[in-house]
Symmetry: C2
């Protein structure tokens, strides 16, 4: 039995999109999976009523308070104990649910996850992993914005977290990890990257591909791309903007019949983050998935599938094992 | 009279593409402009012979040594005094030419430019400015890789250099400068970005737009995007790879007739760096333009036009004035 808590009050389109996403997902999830909608009970019930049904495997936990998208994370988490974010993560901490998903205030989800779930021993900082498209398969880039000014050891930790995630969730037994840098040679890069390279090349836990460059990301040279959260966030947002930019240009340059063709939609689907199912917050003792604030019901449903997979394959246990066993950075 | 020195031995396709680029450019340059090809005289003459002509306004300065693309920059510059890079920049230093262009070893061009031309008073570090496409007009991002681990004052300096360049070369009298960051608020970002924000907001020399995010680059919110060279180089290479990635996807998804249509070519032209004319090395006393190692003759011709414009508008003098007058960072 797996139970996934979903923040029904989080995101720009709550509660409509989270509730619709839960309804979309529950049809295709295995029978032993339940979704717990966390948020204002009356709002959730009103939303479910619009759809005319409340399926068996969706329950509600009332959390009347809301943390706004622009609130200061730590202060909000401390003062709003009845918010959907704090309530959902308390359920996770108490073992009532196995995972928590939110499209709400990212900083608050991170802060509450770290405070309530705690970090695995040996993990210095949690990282946001973001799934990106590539010419080969989807890849994981981390950190995507949880940490700026990272130490070499933290970058090494991100590589470990990413490798376990890719092994478990993407089902790739031998993940290849690259360090995002400005040249292939070991002496390239800023101070943190140079030292991280030296740490990474000693690992025996995954294949280290060495430094990779900005041009290698979309090519799919690596399963895991490691960088600090400053670089990662800029890269992520730049890639997200590419689809919008191209769409605008194509609409100007080409006939609408071509732009709206099925073939073209496939291309744009490649860059549509909603199909990639949210960003795992890695390093916490549990499963937290952070969705884009503008997530559609489809994106939420996708995140629910990813969370279920992470629970079923025991991602959190494997991260624990990785850091306990690890001698490379001890 | 303007004289531009062009490195005929630099780049992956030298001397063929530089020589062809000079021939392409000279037809359209004003009568008072000369191109000086710097490199192995015999190789240049052989290459010109293939084209069956040596126009009046192209001359040759013999520089028999070559600096390889992978040589250590400083050591190469110090030991190879008769290389095309050192020779060309010595001509510039002596006032024999007004600008130098090379598609050769970027590090060597930077090192030789800094050593031979010197920096303008007040400039802490030279920066590579790279011209990027945007939905509005072309924009300048700097630093694109000359400096990693930049101080807030250096970032401030890049903003000044970029603003002068955009005013002079893009002919935009009131350039808008944005600081590349991971959020719009002033307290966002890594330590250097936060302090740079505080410096930038005091300036009266250009319009500071505040922090911009990765998603704002291609939108064209700013004329100048400021970041350290680690971030800038990754962004630059990622954007360069987007055209290749999309081209591959379109060829798989769409009919060849559409992919090769004129309308589609226009879209890809948008992302074709060769039309943007090389990257200025800003902060040195003179005009140095660095071209991509894989530059085509068209890219070289484009760089020659940009160099001529920079000379004619007295870019270097204006950079001098900017830093002498400047009280903001004094």
């Amino acid at each position: 039995m797996a139970r996934i808590a979903l923040d029904a009050s989080g995101g720009d389109f709550a509660p409509a999109q989270p509730v619709a996403g839960a309804l979309e997902a529950v049809q295709n999830l295995p029978a032993n999976c339940e979704i717990v909608l966390v948020g204002s009970r009356s709002e959730i019930e009103a939303e479910l009523a619009k759809h005319g049904r409340q399926p068996d495997r969706i329950s509600i936990v009332d959390a009347p308070e809301k943390i706004g998208m622009d609130e200061k994370p730590l202060a909000a988490v401390r003062s709003k104990r009845k918010s959907s974010i704090v309530t959902g993560l308390q359920l996770h901490r108490q073992g009532e649910v196995d995972a928590f998903i939110s499209a709400g205030n990212t900083g608050a989800v991170m802060a509450a996850s770290t405070l309530l779930l705690g970090l695995h021993d040996g993990v210095e900082r949690p990282a946001i992993g973001t799934v990106l498209p590539s010419m080969k398969e989807e890849i994981l880039l981390l950190d995507a914005g949880a940490n700026v000014d990272c130490s070499p050891r933290e970058l090494m930790g991100f590589a470990q977290l990413g490798a376990v995630y890719v092994r478990d969730v993407f089902e790739r037994p031998d993940p290849v990890v690259g360090l995002l840098n400005i040249g292939e040679e070991s002496e390239k890069g800023n101070a943190a990257a140079k030292e991280a390279y030296a740490l990474l090349k000693t690992t025996t836990h995954f294949t280290f591909a060495g430094n990779i460059e900005g041009s290698d990301i979309l090519v799919g040279r690596c399963d895991v791309v490691v960088c600090d959260g400053f670089v990662g966030n800029i890269v992520l947002k730049l890639i997200e903007s590419v689809a919008r930019t191209f769409d605008g240009m194509f609409r100007t340059a080409l006939d609408a019949s071509i732009v709206d063709s099925e073939a073209m939609k496939e291309v744009f689907h490649f860059l549509d983050y909603s199909s990639y199912g949210g960003a795992p917050l890695l390093g916490v003792q549990g499963v937290t998935i952070i969705c884009h604030g503008r997530s559609s019901s489809r994106a939420i449903a996708s995140a629910l599938r990813v969370a279920l997979r992470a629970v079923n394959v025991h991602l959190s246990d494997h991260i624990h094992d990785e850091f306990v066993e690890d001698g490379a950075v001890a």
